[in-house]
Amino acid sequence: MLSSLGSAGGKSAKPSFVSYVTPEEIKSEKEPSRKEKHPDLLPGEVVFCSASTVLKYTQDDLSQRGVFGVLLCTNFRVSFVSDEAPTEEMLFKNKLYGENDIPLSCVDNIYGDKRKLITGGLVKNKYPSKMIIHCKDLRVFQFSLSFSKEEDAKKIFQGIVHHCLEPKSLRCLFAFSYCENTSYPGSYSYCREHLVSSRSLGFLLFPVYFIVPKNVSDEDLTKYQGKGLPMWCWSHHSGCALFKTASIPLVQEDNVPQTYMEKMLTAVAHNHLYSVKTEDLSDTLPTVQDILLSYNRFKQFFLIDNTTEFWMSDMKWFSSLDNCGWLDIIRQCLQKAVEVVESLEKENTNVLIMEEGGSDLCCVVSSLVQLMLDPYYRTLLGFQSLVQKEWVAGGHAFLDRSNHLHLKDKVESPVFLLFLECVWQLQQQHGPAFQFSETYLTVLSDSIHVPVFTTFLFNNDGHRDSLLRAESPHTQRSPLNCPTVWDWSVQFDCKAQDLFTNPLYTEKPKQDTSVRKSYRPRHLRQLSLPSSAFKTPPKKGFFKDEADNLKKILGVKRLSRWMLSPSSDSPQTSSSVREFYEAWQTKPLDYHGLLLPCLDGPSIRVWMQRYLRWIHDVQILGGGPVAMLSKVSEILGEVQELQRQLDRHGCTLTSNHKGARPRAKTAAAVIAARSSVRLSSSFPFVTSRNWSFKPAIPTSLLQSLMVTGMAGNLADREDDGGPESLV
């Protein structure tokens, strides 16, 4: 009687997707004809197997409610086609897969009865009556196979397990059959001509073109398969630059790598003109294995099988979050990037970051540094070229790290996701500085697991070229054309793509020409160098001009600080980073200038849109930041319309208005959404039209509230008690 807790309200009726027909009735009914129950197959998509009368549960499994339909497995996805009339079109529809489709590479884990983890290769003749699929985009599907024909159920279960969990060859990835069957007008969306140097050096790890200091000779290039070779990333306007490299394993007896490394450092220092700081990231940042472990613990908080479990975990949410360490890893990466930024911006020294392989955390840190220092990379186009430059051309092993092929010997790790997480932190702290929206980042993180885009399918440029060439249906001449992820029209129509732009962003106000004439320091993000012919060494070294200037100014050679061990001065670094941040913070914030993240505890947060979007109980109906942003978009739309009218009148607007002039068409989609759908905090991923307006009431409040120890006797006390409380 006493503990009549308010749990009743929590399990409210959820009217959507509910089939009130009992399974018995279904069985007695005539079986629906299977032929009609195909999803719209993509070009090159083939159905492997299917089973009808599969029950898909609504998220709260305690209700045991759901909807019947056909479950299929194709060479692209696991797809559930409901027997019921399709629900209304979603605004933010992905053209490749729908809300009941799971691309095969997006399947994370499959669980059987009693939540037993299913692993590939162990599936015998049995099949579970209930199958839970956790997706890499955090969706959770629960299917009951117990109403299907035994033969079908067995086949579909084994099919799904085989295609989702067992090792396969790259050729089996859907991209290849998709691209063979589409006439995709292939083109790389970034310009390679900027990058110089050479391919045919005999190692594939490197992009076709890359830039090294000019003192590095051609013989040096090939010495350690490219290891230890400092690759240029970005130049600060002061002339100092950021380099990254794969570290050479140091062999004790052998002195050769040491001398080679010193030579490389001298090259980076440009003959002692600049001091060089080296940072071995593996000394201070977590390993790729740590990253995977931490993320695996982290993601579990969002893969919710049922409501009760969710609310049970709610009270311990902060400490669980803390213990899994994911936010701390994000903080460490950002902190490291700030340290590098400080070296470049404040001390004007060259920085060489290194790690084994040179293509995981080096990519994270180097791209973050560039995002913080260079506003160009905060635009849509700039961000795209940053990812292409640092990650795709930079040789991040996307294929191994995402482990699409389920090979045992590959180290899977969500390194690119970690980078996106860091970007999200920057973005949520300094919203107006970014041209792209949170939704853009979320969609990008989902796209890693859609095996259609060449961007994320290969380990490096060489790998990509050789495979696409080999797979080409035509002769050797033209390689297979596959879309890159940047061609968003493959996934979304124009309206949906409008949600990728951030209504808060304004372009930098154009300066008057008179002002522009005066010298303005410019960063170098690309070099205008001869585009081909590796035989021609870059005569015009990228810091040559500016170096000459600097030589005059400085007159003195700076002492280089080589091989500083980062661990020895780490407490110092962290306090100096703090000072650097504080000094930056006291200046007025320029969204088109240097951007630093606040790293204090309360400032590093969970990427709510990505992680909470599918969890019904935490949707804020009619609320969330989108409620505000959509109003901004609305006004933006009106302003644009007025601008068009004024333009028709031939009215010229003054230049400072043009600065505030927003980019085209951000508003339309949101306005369309507002008219018919109630926005929620999960916008645009879940539309709330079908949901009940019953509030989610936390169950199990009592058990978990721990007021123990010292507070214990306080808790028993009266509010305005007698004299005993007035000690």
């Binding site: 213990n323 009218q645 306080l714 305005d720």
Partner: protein, 616 residues
């Protein structure tokens, strides 16, 4: 004093300020004095009408962020003001004396070490201040004594500043809440609910307001009988009624069941009458306490409604802890955010304060109340005395159910009604002007409530007409003692002390400058019930309040979203104007039609343009 009408933080010309600071009494030699004082630090604060300088002293402020800062401290009968002498950037402190909870001497005359001799001040608004003085000549004695006297005037037979203030405002905040008007707005009285003046002289219950709404069927005699069975005579009375389904929120204190399990037929019948008023099948009684506490209360004569005695009622415990737990929780929170934000394991530390957990429990309790009401069921809410947790629950539920309370004026009415008139013990909980810092009656219950409101405004950024600044202002003046609004424990005490005639209302300040408290994103949706998500996933620490003294936390006057929105609104207006001008010259019928339509729907947001130019 005939000083111009000014508000805190407003910057006046230095000269005028210094006149007043250096020469509070004598007017005639002000010129020479001000010349002298011009050599001192320039001051950028003006005194309030009625505020008088008491003492000033050269002192060292031990700033926890930038180290010791030399400067001068001024103490008036309202505030402590410190200005650094030569620090860059300059350091200023502007602390209403009401915010001071505790003043202690630090170190003795013989203490060694730099800056070890001085004053240690604990504030109620999440900060501590340390000042160091020279050791020679008992230099701190006078300043300590004065600070102690003026920070705790009630302990020294002095008046609170609210009674000394001469501030004048265009708006009279005391007219914001008129109980009859508010009940009429709710559609009361009805054929089931009547308004009674039985408490006109505070005879039925001395901590209730004079005007109460009770079931039509209950006679005055019934009310008197019920009052004997409810702790401190706080009988169930109506707080809010749902216009369509007539479900009501009633509030009261615990029944006096006691160890023997006493029954009271009148109380049982009274609750039955409440249930019958809208034909609710079962009346839900929300007991805000954890069930163990409710049981424990039997020992002191209290208790809860047993379901064997209250036939058609169901009892739900909401597990919200008492004032002592909340006080300790906020204390722990202060420990991890002031002066520095805990660095390692921030989230675990945050969790160990349980502050957000308590917020969650309060919010989810209120959600349950609101949900029941929306479903057409009447509820009764109580805790032990019905002035702490009960006020939190009823007012939050009302905020969810009734969009009127989400407006600037409506929110003031809500506070006046559920908190001030129904006897939340502000004086005891805050300890206005009282030196007894360890008083066990103190507790941040109202701060916790405002935090809950803030959480709701965070989750629904377009649903509230007021902004974060209003919430901060309310909390600042909860402590400041500049306004009469939050003084005393109940209406009867306020009457005795003539608060309404002798002090100024906080709402006078707010409503005379209402534009700076408005949320530009506000979109009225009158019939909408707001259910916040009471999950730790969405609750966040109110950094801009609790950690606002930390310079590392960027205090943005305006959020970037708001700023952008304002810019766009201004741009739109400018374009509209331009377009109008153009149309006057070339009156093409087509385009004039277009702009007319957009001009008309632009009307309402245009008003917000003003905010852009309002100084913050």
């Amino acid at each position: 004093m005939t000083a111009p009408h000014v508000t805190l933080g407003e910057v006046l010309p230095e000269r005028a300020v210094q006149n007043r600071l250096t020469n509070p009494g004598t007017e005639n030699c002000s010129l020479c004095a001000s010349r002298e004082s011009l050599k001192m630090e320039p001051l950028a604060v003006t005194l309030l009408p009625g505020e008088e300088r008491v003492i000033d002293k050269d002192i060292m402020y031990i700033c926890p962020f930038s180290g010791p800062v030399k400067g001068k401290v001024f103490i008036t009968n309202y505030r402590l003001y410190f200005k650094s002498a030569d620090a860059d950037p300059s350091v200023t402190l502007n602390v209403p004396l009401g915010a001071i909870g505790r003043v202690e001497k630090m170190g003795g005359a013989s203490s060694r070490g730099e800056n070890s001799y001085g004053l240690d001040i604990t504030c109620k608004d999440m900060r501590n201040l340390r000042f160091a003085l020279k050791q020679e000549g008992h230099s701190r004695r006078d300043i300590f004594d004065i600070l102690f006297r003026y920070a705790f005037p009630l302990s020294h037979g002095l008046l609170l500043f609210a009674y000394l203030s001469q501030e004048k405002y265009e708006e009279n905040g005391w007219s914001v809440y008129k109980p009859m008007e508010e009940f009429r707005r709710q559609g009361l009285p009805t054929d089931k609910w009547r308004i009674t003046f039985i408490n006109d002289n505070y005879e039925l219950c001395d901590t209730y307001p004079t005007i109460l709404v009770v079931p039509f069927k209950a006679t005055e005699e019934d009310l008197r009988k019920v009052s004997t069975f409810r702790s401190r005579g706080r009988i169930p009375v109506l707080s809010w009624i749902h216009r369509e389904n007539q479900a009501v929120i009633c509030r009261c204190s615990q029944p006096l069941v006691g160890m023997s399990g006493k029954r009271n037929k009148d109380d049982e019948r009274y609750l039955e009458v409440i249930r019958e008023a809208n034909g609710t099948a079962k009346l839900t009684i929300y007991d805000a306490r954890p069930s163990v506490n409710a049981v424990a209360n039997k020992a002191t004569g209290g208790g809860y409604e047993g379901d064997d005695t209250y036939q058609n009622a169901e009892l739900v415990f909401l597990d919200i802890h008492n004032i002592h737990v909340m006080r300790e929780s906020l204390k722990k929170l202060k420990d991890i955010v002031y002066p520095n934000v805990e660095e390692s394991h921030w989230l675990s530390s945050l969790e160990s304060t349980h502050w957000l957990e308590h917020i969650k429990l309060v919010l989810s309790g209120a959600i349950q109340v609101a949900d029941k009401i929306s479903g057409g069921n009447s509820v009764v809410v109580h805790c032990s005395d019905g002035w702490d947790r009960t006020a939190q629950l009823t007012s939050l539920a009302m905020l969810m159910l009734d969009s009127h309370y989400r407006t600037l004026r409506g929110f003031q009415v809500l506070l006046e009604k559920e908190w001030i008139s129904f006897g939340h013990k502000f004086a005891s909980r805050i300890g206005h002007g009282d030196k007894n810092h360890a008083d066990q009656d103190r507790s941040p219950i109202f701060v916790q409530f405002i935090d809950c409101v803030w959480q709701m405004t965070k989750q629904f950024p377009t649903a509230f007409e007021f902004n974060e600044r209003l919430l901060m202002t309310i909390l600042d003046h909860l402590f400041s003692c500049r306004f009469g609004t939050f003084l005393y424990n109940c209406e009867s005490a306020r009457d005795t002390n003539e608060v309404r005639s002798k002090t100024v209302s906080l709402w006078s300040l707010v409503n005379s400058d209402s534009t700076s408290y408005l949320n530009p994103f506000y979109t009225p949706e009158s019939s909408r019930v707001l259910y916040p998500v009471a999950s730790m996933r969405h609750l966040e620490l109110w950094v801009t309040y609790y950690i606002r003294w930390n310079p590392r936390i960027r205090q943005q006057q305006q959020s970037p979203v708001e700023q952008r929105y304002m810019e766009l609104l201004a741009l739109r207006d400018e374009y509209l104007k331009k377009l109008e001008e153009l149309q006057l010259t070339d009156s093409s019928p087509n385009s004039s039609h277009l702009s007319n339509s957009s001009a008309s729907n632009a009307a309402s947001p245009t008003q917000h343009i003003n905010h852009l130019h309002t100084p913050f």
